[in-house]
Symmetry: C2
Subunit: 380 residues, 2 copies
């Protein structure tokens, strides 16, 4: 068992860095978690749908974390045009993210029908841009579609787009099922897949009644987790890290029925809505990302593939080669004494230290593994 590991320039090919105060809190965490390159999702409010917006957003991130390389994406929607794709490509925007409507955070403007976007995909193929697919169908209970099978039922869309645009680079994001792993393997070299660290660890039991572990796509069955672990252990070149790290204010992870779910009955007693009392979907890992990946991969015998998972495979697929002049990230094994390797319970933006925890506006985030000890840490 090694006590030290060196990795060339880790990259996170799927991360949410938000806006305003939350962005101020989490953007510097990318480097803290050991990552040099962050491929940033466009589901802001409003979503990023133009090259100019993307450039301006990346500048705001750069000002918060000057030594991190940020790569931008656009949000697939009816506003996008082939001309805008060409302009975005010239501006360094690398991909376009597709969200099925209503499936996850800020996806209300998501897509319903892929054929509408074939002209966009043609332009992307021409420009060498990457299509990032959130691979779930929206739930439709009458049709038998729910959160547990939404990903397997989506895969025919992936295969259809790939057949129609065989040169278009496509990434199936945050795969959670054996079916998804097998579908990506069946596709050609232009189709890759991100896997989050939390999906390498969690199964359905872990989010049943546990809001901190609730994310979309939901963690699935033990056999699905096994398939995700196996493909990383195998070192398959088209599977790599996209953390889907998604910070949510603690108050949104733990709504209370009284403050968030008050029954919507108006003065005459008519029901004007239903009680939702929903917990925000998302798991936050940016601040601990590479030590977490090392800890998890070691737990299932895949530590020797850590560099492929967190750097080489993704960089090869996207075409961001490592700069050999950059010193590698060095991880060392945690000595289990004191608070060594223990993940902080919460991160709070300094402006909100004295704000009540129940205030939904309070910018504080509980990370994955909070209060638990990781097996690896970044050497100072």
């Amino acid at each position: 068992m090694p006590d030290q590991i060196s990795i060339q320039s880790p990259a996170d090919f799927h991360v949410h860095l938000r806006q305003s105060k939350m962005s101020e809190l989490v953007t510097p965490h990318v480097q803290e978690g050991g990552v040099s390159l962050a491929y940033v999702m466009p589901n802001l409010v409003p979503p990023i749908t133009s090259a100019d917006q993307a450039v301006s957003y990346l500048e705001s991130l750069k000002s918060l974390a000057p030594s991190t390389q940020f790569v931008g994406t656009l949000y697939l929607g009816p506003e996008l045009t082939p001309d805008e794709i060409a302009k975005a490509a010239r501006s360094g925007v690398r991909g376009v993210k597709s969200y099925p409507r209503g499936v996850t955070t800020n996806s209300d403007g998501g897509i319903e029908d892929y054929e509408t976007y074939f002209p966009i995909f043609e332009a992307m193929e021409r420009e060498g841009m990457v299509l990032n697919l959130h691979g779930e169908l929206p739930s439709d209970i009458e049709k038998g579609i729910c959160v547990m099978n939404a990903e397997p039922l989506f895969l025919s869309h992936l295969e259809k787009i790939h057949r129609r645009f065989p040169k278009l680079k496509i990434v199936l994001e945050h795969a959670t099922t054996r079916a998804a792993v097998e579908a990506v393997k069946r596709c050609g070299d232009t189709v890759a897949c991100t896997i989050t660290p939390h999906h390498l660890q969690l199964v359905v039991d872990d989010w049943a009644g546990k809001p901190l572990n609730f994310c979309k796509p939901v963690a699935k069955m033990p056999d699905d987790r096994q398939a995700l672990r196996d493909v990383i252990r195998e070192g398959h070149p088209r599977f790599f890290l996209g953390s889907d790290s998604a910070p949510h204010p603690l108050a949104n992870k733990f709504p209370s029925a009284t403050t968030h779910g008050a029954p919507a009955i108006n003065d005459t007693g008519a029901t004007t809505g239903v009680i939702s009392c929903g917990c925000a979907a998302g798991i936050y890992t940016s601040s601990i990302l590479i030590p977490l990946c090392a800890t998890l991969l070691e737990s299932f015998g895949a530590l020797e593939n850590l560099e492929k998972y967190v750097s080489k495979n993704g960089r090869d697929f996207y075409g961001y080669p490592v700069d050999p002049a950059t010193p590698p990230l060095v991880l060392k094994r945690v000595q289990p004494v004191g608070k060594d390797g223990v993940v902080p319970p919460v991160y709070i933006h300094p402006d909100f230290v004295n704000v009540s925890d129940s205030d939904p506006a309070k910018v504080q985030v509980v990370p994955f593994y909070a209060g638990q000890r990781l097996a690896w840490e970044i050497a100072q």
Copy 2:
């Protein structure tokens, strides 16, 4: 479409009425929900494991709701003896509830191996007592057992006990899957099955990130719900109402990370436990039970089987015939004006009206369908 329905003496063959203040709050709700006979679960603290305890508990319930008929059960565990079974039967205790260890609320003393209990089952068969099975295996991720398949994987135990004790009356409680419905149908006439109203309505999406809808067994896939609805629509005589109504203080349904899930790190920084931040499993329906059942059965075309589901089938199986002198329960269709048919947002024990909502000791319960309008109500 009828505007009025009469039902002979509805019975709820699986209900949790708790202890002390919570029992004071919810026990009178049984009658309020239209139910005449309540078959009461024994998972108290400590569990009910003797005839004397059962009799004393039923007396306490009777003092809270004198016109409701309460039927008692024992908790299957190593303390039980064949003699105690005989004594319990003489005291009017009707069944013994088996909880797999750790699967649900207060099940830490649950069973691990059924063969140990064969002498108890023999005594029960002799005395005509009913075995009530919580039909789930404990989750064991390494073995592939999780909350989504824990019930199908349990069914071989049901079939094994039935084959060994063909005259023993067995009820598979709160079935949630097509596999369970089919297994019960395959068994002989001594095996029956309760189905909760909430499992006739919910699927996995409804509890994903939504603590109010989280219960055990968890609601499953759309096809499973279809099987539950179909067997009620079919009017199969061995399937009937057991509400599994389970009140939990609101603060336990909505824990906050700061009050309930503080990371367990001691002064030296060592992790002494993991963050759980778990929401209590259980859905509360007692107070609205028969109007809720009418509303749901009508929604999937089974209203004509309402009396079979909520009275006849269960009473026939257990042998509690309707007293023809008792006037029937009359339901009338809700007129959607004002607060007619709207389920209250919360029930609060009068002693706790001024206690903070975040106090875990506050006895207040949010019912299923809170703030929503039912299609049926009890005629005054």
